[in-house]
């Protein structure tokens, strides 16, 4: 039995709708839908136990950097933002709105992107089961939160416990989650209920179906069980409950972070738990509970209770922008493929697909990404088979990229607020409606990924997009490199109509003020912001755009310098005054710059061919 699924995409993403009004409306609706409290805080790596997880998370949130506190504050501001904070929506721009609307059409809800592969492989019997239920439930308390369910069950003894889990587990989890106080108890309760149901069901002789090998004969069916690894993915969290030796692994920024720890009988804490319960672990082709079962927790396996427990371990992980994908798989994969390798493979599949999608704009991007997930799951399955995995192999890959324009806008607003310069009234962060629809927005998103959410890049993109509404810009990100203390941002902007002009910006550091000033002036000039420098305070009111230009110029300048320099310059509300202050500050370093040039000249040599090196 094999199952292949492409996750479904929201229909408005898939259709390249020529009708502007409706697509804009749809996008706005989507934005509303995805309104979420996003905290780019630090999530702890998977801990050994849920209790630990809680502790660590507290610790992590205590030690969160001030920057991310700022972010949170900023977000809280934006979270409470409402209509009057924004000027009436201008033509050609979609406002970023964080307002909520509860009456969102069901059909527009965002579905997760995932792929799965489940094969029998070298086994004669298929005992794995996989279930995926996007939008499987909504919490009563938090109606906007959308939860997606992913589960992998690896049966042993026979397939019926795993099959039963596939049929029922998500329903039980749904019931518990809808009324829950906290995740951990909800997951634990649903696992216990599932276990009871399975045991009761097989005792009754399997009402309904029983076309399995064991035919539910009493002694045999008592020795049947299944692992279960269940992941609930919401907009801001990944909750993983695990019981047995299937595993969930998060791929974050290229690194593999296991979100569950296999329950093997020789795990020290499991070993002592079994022994305290009066059981023994006997080494018989590996460590086994009572010499029988090679895992210490499972659903079913009634005759090994209480040594084999059905309590899951639950981890709760905050999602971050660096999250790439989540891999759930049975031990058929993990026995032969390491976490890191699996992440690498999945990541490459997603990346390549993204590159392909960018190259070929015609196709709906969202759909292509689902293909990437399927490719990833299949490739991992094949890798497992190629490495002689002797078990059934089941792999689910969930794409965790926050790849929507909403997220792009949200991220931009975060960055802008973090910088503390921009107020919504001053800076209309709108997105130029791109032609073709995806070009600008997609690329903004791409910068976030490629440039590791580099604040400078984002702000530049935002400004260019926001202020050049009359022209459609294609902005190419060339390079964003952060080395120790020196930041270089290269950007090339190319207006679609009137030729090309290139912009290269060098971040201000101690000894490059001249270059920097020249570039800033050139850039501001290009944006027609040089008015801030041309007119003094008496005249400024005559210019409608002065205020906005001033703010933006300040922002641009502040961004194009290193933090430690910015701190050293007294803050100032007027751009040209600010420039003077910077100049003062850099006077001393000006000499340094001259010194550097001189020394370069002095040390330049003729290379005997005809030029200087």
């Amino acid at each position: 039995m094999a199952e292949i699924c492409y996750g479904v995409v929201s229909e408005s993403d898939a259709s390249s709708n020529p009708c502007e009004a409706s697509s804009r409306a749809a996008r706005r609706r989507r934005m509303d839908i995805r309104r979420c409290k996003f905290v780019s805080g630090v999530a702890p790596p998977a801990p050994e136990s849920p209790e630990n997880s809680e502790k660590r998370k507290k610790a992590a949130s205590r030690t969160t950097s001030s920057a991310s506190h700022e972010l949170e504050n900023a977000l809280q501001c934006s979270g409470s933002s409402d209509e009057e904070k924004f000027p009436p929506s201008q033509k050609k721009s979609t406002k970023f709105r964080a307002s909520s609307s509860s009456n969102v059409p069901e059909g527009l809800r965002e579905l997760p992107k995932y792929g799965l592969a489940s094969v029998c492989g070298r086994r004669r019997d298929m005992e794995d089961a996989v279930s995926v239920h996007p939008l499987f439930c909504r919490r009563i308390r938090d109606a906007t939160a959308q939860l997606h369910y992913f589960g992998v069950y690896d049966g042993h003894g026979c397939s019926h416990v795993a099959t039963k889990c596939r049929e029922r587990m998500h329903e039980l989890v749904k019931e518990e989650v809808e009324n829950m106080e906290e995740w951990k108890t909800a997951m634990e309760r649903s696992f216990v209920r599932m276990d009871k149901e399975v045991v009761a069901w097989s005792r009754e002789g399997g009402v309904g179906v029983s076309n399995c090998r064991c035919e539910l004969q009493t002694p045999e069916s008592e020795a049947v069980g299944s692992t279960a690894v269940v992941a609930i993915v919401s907009a801001d969290k990944i909750v993983v409950a695990n019981c047995g030796d299937s595993r969930a692994v998060l791929c974050r920024d290229g690194k593999a972070i296991p979100l569950s720890v296999d329950h093997k009988p020789d795990r020290p804490d499991e070993l002592s738990r079994i022994q305290e319960a009066g059981g023994r672990v006997i080494y018989w082709d590996g460590p086994r509970v009572l010499g029988v079962l090679a895992m210490s927790r499972a659903l079913g396996d009634n005759y090994l209770k209480p040594y084999v427990s059905c309590d899951p371990e639950v981890t709760i992980t905050d999602r971050t922008v660096e999250d790439e994908c989540l891999i759930l798989a049975s031990d058929g994969l993990w026995d032969v493929v390491s976490n890191d390798t699996a992440c690498g493979v999945a990541r490459m599949c997603l990346r390549r697909e993204r590159a392909a999608a960018a190259a070929e704009r015609a196709g709906p991007e969202a759909a292509a990404l689902d293909k990437a997930c399927s490719d990833a799951s299949m490739l991992l399955t094949k890798l497992a088979l190629a490495r002689q995995s002797t078990d059934n192999v089941s792999v689910v890959v969930v794409n965790l990229r926050l790849n929507t324009e909403f997220e792009a806008c949200r991220k931009l607003s975060e960055v802008l607020r973090k910088l503390g310069v921009v107020h919504w009234k001053d800076l209309d962060i709108g997105i130029v409606r791109p032609i073709p629809r995806t070009s600008v927005v997609t690329r903004v998103v791409a910068y976030m990924y490629v440039g590791a959410a580099d604040a400078q890049v984002l702000v530049w993109v935002a400004l260019l997009v926001a202020y050049e509404e009359s022209t459609t810009y294609l902005i190419d990100y060339h390079q964003c490199r952060t080395t120790s203390g020196f930041r270089t941002v290269h950007m090339v902007t190319s207006p679609s109509r009137d030729g090309q002009h290139a912009l290269i910006l060098v971040g201000l550091d101690e000894d490059n003020f001249k270059t920097w000033k020249r570039q800033i002036e050139m850039h501001l000039g290009m944006l027609e912001f040089h008015i801030t420098f041309k007119h003094n305070s008496q005249q400024r009111k005559e210019f409608v755009k002065w205020h906005r230009a001033n703010q933006t110029s300040l922002l641009i300048m502040q961004n194009a310098m290193e933090d430690h320099i910015r701190v050293g310059i007294p803050s100032c509300g007027v751009a040209n005054e600010f420039m003077v202050k910077i100049e003062e500050k850099c006077k001393r370093s000006n000499n340094v710059e001259t010194g550097v040039c001189l020394s370069e000249l002095i040390h330049a040599k003729h290379d005997d061919i005809g030029s200087v090196c």
Binding site: A117, M126, T341, V345, D375, K382, A386
Partner: protein
């Protein structure tokens, strides 16, 4: 059972082996000369299947006269015979063979793939759809047909206790000679055995055919090489 039948069966097998070897070398040649030419490869693969069809048709005729010869063939080594499943190789073996090629290759390509230096897909040896189809065929073949046939053979082997063996025992102890009834019972049993063998052959053939449909051609070639290799030993 005349030894002439046995000879015929043997030569039938030998003949098929020779044909297989010829097919195999043709296939290998085609693979090295023009691996992109799907039509040729498809044609060759089809030829291989046709030859297998011819072989099982032929041996069906022979088996009607002497089935047991195929179940414990004297022309195979005892090791080969030990691997037999209803006078041939297990169809489930084919699936294992499908998963074998590319194993080592894939691992060596993995590093390149992870570094992003590799352009082509890692999974080129077996595409997504193929994997799905092969997998569903596998579960169908193994769980339904292969198990059913195994059970059928078991039943046949046990049934022999009811009629012929008891009669033989009885007859031998009482009269010291086999009577007509025993003879008839054994014949009947032989016919049943042939039926099982025919079904098994049909399953092998169908599995091959479907696998061929599911596998892309150059993949097929690889698999075929190997399954030939195995079949040479097995049959």
């Amino acid at each position: 059972m005349a030894s002439g039948d046995k000879e015929k069966s043997k030569s039938c097998f030998k003949e098929w082996m020779e044909i297989q070897e010829k097919d195999l070398s043709e296939l290998l040649q085609a693979l090295t000369l023009d691996p992109q030419n799907k039509d040729t490869l498809k044609h060759l693969a089809q030829k291989g299947i046709d030859h297998f069809q011819e072989y099982i048709d032929k041996r069906k005729q022979l088996a009607r006269r002497d089935a047991s010869a195929f179940f414990a063939s004297t022309w195979c080594t005892s090791w080969e015979n030990s691997l037999l499943w209803i006078a041939g190789c297990r169809p489930s073996l084919f699936f294992r063979l499908v998963y074998v090629p590319g194993g080592s290759k894939m691992d060596s390509r993995l590093d390149e793939f992870l570094q992003g230096t590799r352009e082509s897909d890692l999974g080129e040896l077996l595409t997504y759809t193929q994997l799905v189809l092969v997998n569903s065929l596998q579960s169908k073949t193994i769980s339904r047909v292969e198990e059913t046939l195994t059970a059928e053979l078991a039943a046949l082997q046990e049934e022999i206790a009811d009629q012929p063996i008891v009669m033989i025992a009885k007859g031998l102890s009482e009269t010291g000679e086999m009577n007509r009834e025993v003879e008839e019972a054994l014949d009947e049993h032989g016919i049943a055995m042939v039926r099982v063998m025919e079904k098994a052959d049909q399953l092998r053939l169908n599995t091959l055919k479907e696998l061929k449909l599911h596998l892309c051609v150059h993949k097929w070639g690889r698999k075929r090489d190997q399954s030939h290799g195995r079949e040479n030993m097995d049959d």
